[in-house]
Symmetry: C2
Subunit: 492 residues, 2 copies
């Protein structure tokens, strides 16, 4: 199998930062710090280029790209738009593989001349054997290759491939999913996308052995048929989640001044996703929630019959209404399972039909709670269960809750309680096979589970959501997605 | 004006806890700790009653209610259902004003005999001059009278009146709104509501001088016409937000086993709210978001024309789509305002039409940012503005962001930055009068603003929401609500 043409782009053996600011807090300096964070200069040569400096950050600085003493695979351009044409020539002369134009001020300005300049630049680069990312974008996050464009992104690699026309939304995707426990194989922020763009990236992701899940934020669809082909190739093999910007009239206008893209009709885009077997989501939260669900055993949820283990009658009522809104049933438990529960749950003020109300059982690890959860994980007639482990308010030494609004500085015990509850649910899921959808409720002034706790849960195959509405929406979307894929390979 | 009959119920001069557990961690002991937290026993006599103890928690314990050495205004009953009839007789004999039956196991069990017992108990109490709250509920949270039913609820009083058929949801309402900066005049969790129930509580709230806003969680509507009258009286005078449980078929079943209520048809309830001038919301988040909005200057938003000050092009695009979903326009800024902005915002990669993209401006307090915000607060043709202050990731001593997932223990500087940004926006709003809707984005592993920060913002009249989707939904709901109130007093 020949290597995909973008493979070399994703694994440069050297990088030059051209237009490196002398001020280490200046615009564009974030690329330098990001590469340091990832350890790029420890692993490979990193060249700084600025005609007005010989040393920046105690590193040698070269006047032009051509002065760099070794070969340069990847150039990050921080130069102004008017200097970009010269830089392209230098890239061609230097034998650069990929030019990433962080440089903005081209087609997205709305100026026809600048749009023509953009086309000409990219055509020249391609003719000279140089691939172009951008212009007007953040470029590459490839932790396995020590590449990043924001400071302190995770350095560990994972199996999510990200495609984002926007750099800011790319950051939200990376940080948002990382906080939920996911990690990335590669992510490309491609801005105006005059060369490297969505279709080729979906194609790449389809064949990338490091990628198991694809998430994308798109603004324009310059070539519908090519995108459909690529999206179909990708979504056949791997869950592919697409967030489209510019679906409203005002949003479409914002798209054109952002990445010079034509937003196109939402209905057409919807149909394109459906035909391809991908799923279109409407918000960043939905993208992240669905990515979490398909990265866990939740991916195997095959039908709408849920069992909800809740805390409190009113919460059970509202949860039941909420899941119904997303097409999820909470059918009544069979009498035998109800009899089993009756041994553990006091009758008064509780329900043992579904939702189960376990608010009278104390602690995550109590034997009564474990017995109830075992029944919930094995009772016949359900496709999955919702679990709502106790939240962990900060407590004082005497075990009482701390006064309302007390800063949660010393809540180690609470965090440990949540971690233990998640671990028990992951074991339950592994033992019985029924997918467990965890609803983690940080109520009032309580803290949500930290990133480390969520990562441990995800690594154990457990999907955790902040609240019933988002959990139910994600499950509902998964089920609709599954139905829409009839005839395609059963990857969900 | 004669005092409302419930006034005495809300201000008892003494309380007896009947059925007080000897084990201070036992079921029902939370009432004792809650009253301690609020300082009730410092201000008034608190009597403990348990026939099997003479001392509990170093306090004298009495064998029966009749043995308490002073008058008792309010009884909290923790006795089993079978002992409730005897307690009612003692309450009548003792001249108790209000009997709060935390005791459960009556009509909500589905047993006809227990339902009849409930009716008989309450009838006997009423005939003897005793009001009854419950059974099967948490009772009263009245911080001004040192009454509470969960531990460590805020002790300060405020202007929100809460009505909740569920005790757990009452807790979510109190803690959820308190974390956003609101405080309560009174809240009643009334469970099966055989005596004190929704209609009378709305009537009370309408005339209560301490109440400016009413939020309610209801399950059943036993007497539609009475509820309509009371809700209308209340919603004429004060914003009244109602969350209805049991709107789905499965939810209605859960309602009957929770508070023995008939959920009724959703359409009927919707019409009832509309006729009364109240608003029905669908989730706990919506209830809280709308309560925040009407507790601030956001309450005065009179039309759908918003101006969004955003950070990043992709975020602007998604935000534009999101607000459009809720009926909010982001019309283009007038050329003169655009010219004013051009002096402060670099053109490349930014939009100055609306949304404004201020991602290139550093810091909350920079003069360029202040100039941009001033233009946004005064440009003609807008009903309100969305502001998105910078989030505050934890930073190291050298100013760089901390590694991803680092616990945020020492993020004092970040918190202070958020506080300052909120204070500046509150000043801007006060100076120019245009309502500011703040979208606070805690991204990835960042912490959301703490309860103290949000309280300061709310006290300054500033509405803060976690993310654009919830902010936009709340504004959209407020506008629909305003339209639906045509002909009613303009309280929004």
């Amino acid at each position: 199998v020949p290597e995909h043409p973008l493979e070399a782009t994703f694994h440069p053996r050297s990088v030059a930062l051209v237009g490196m600011p002398r001020d280490l807090d200046g615009r564009g300096s974030g690329f330098f710090h990001s590469l340091l964070d990832q350890g790029f200069p420890d692993a490979h040569p990193l060249y700084l280029v600025n005609p007005n400096a010989t040393v920046i950050a105690e590193r040698p600085c070269y006047a032009t790209l051509l002065d760099c003493p070794g070969p340069v695979d990847h150039v990050i351009s921080l130069v102004p738009a008017r200097a970009a044409a010269g830089l392209v020539e230098q890239c061609v002369a230097k034998g650069v593989r990929t030019l990433h134009l962080y440089t903005a001020g081209f087609a997205e300005s709305g100026d026809a001349e600048l749009a023509a300049l953009e086309r000409a630049l990219v055509a020249r680069a391609r003719a000279g054997g140089v691939r172009v990312i951008g212009p007007n974008c953040m470029g590459l996050y490839v932790p396995a290759a020590q590449l990043a464009f924001y400071e302190e992104l995770p350095t560990e690699a994972g199996d999510v491939f990200g495609i984002s026309q926007s750099g800011g939304n790319a950051g939200d995707i990376i940080r948002g999913l990382a906080a939920r426990g996911l990690r990335f194989s590669k992510l490309v922020s491609f801005g105006n996308g005059r060369d490297v763009a969505a279709a080729e990236l979906f194609e790449y992701a389809a064949q990338d052995a490091e990628t198991r899940l694809v998430v994308a934020y798109l603004e324009g669809v310059p070539d519908g048929p090519a995108l459909l082909r690529a999206l179909r190739a990708c979504a056949r093999e791997k869950p592919t989640i697409v967030l489209k910007g510019g679906v409203s009239r005002a949003g479409a206008r914002a798209v054109s001044s952002h990445t010079a893209s034509l937003a196109g009709a939402t209905e057409v885009f919807d149909a394109l996703c459906r035909q391809a077997g991908a799923i279109r989501v409407e918000t960043m939260d939905e993208l992240q929630d669905l990515a979490v669900l398909v990265s866990t055993r939740g991916r195997r949820i095959a039908g709408p019959r849920g069992l909800l283990v809740g805390r409190g009658g009113g919460f059970s009522v509202l949860s039941t209404d909420e899941v119904a809104r997303h097409g999820i049933d909470l059918p009544e438990l069979a009498p035998e399972a109800q009899r089993g529960l009756r041994e553990h749950i006091p009758i008064a003020g509780n329900s043992i039909r579904n939702p189960l109300d376990v608010s009278s059982l104390s602690g995550a690890g109590g034997p009564a709670m474990q017995a109830v959860l075992r029944i919930a994980a094995t009772a016949p007639g359900f496709d999955f269960m919702f679990a709502t482990p106790e939240s962990a308010p900060a407590r004082r030494d005497d075990g009482r809750r701390t006064p309302f609004g007390t800063p949660p500085e010393d809540d180690a015990a609470g965090r440990e309680q949540v971690r233990r509850a998640f671990a028990e649910l992951a074991e339950l899921q592994a033992e019985h096979g029924r997918p467990v959808v965890v609803v983690s409720r940080a109520r009032g002034d309580e803290l949500p589970p930290d990133a480390e706790t969520l990562r441990t849960a995800l690594d154990a195959g457990l999907a955790v959501f902040p609240g019933v509405p988002r959990a139910a929406r994600a499950v509902g979307q998964l089920l609709r997605w599954r139905r829409s894929r009839e005839g395609l390979p059963p990857i969900l």
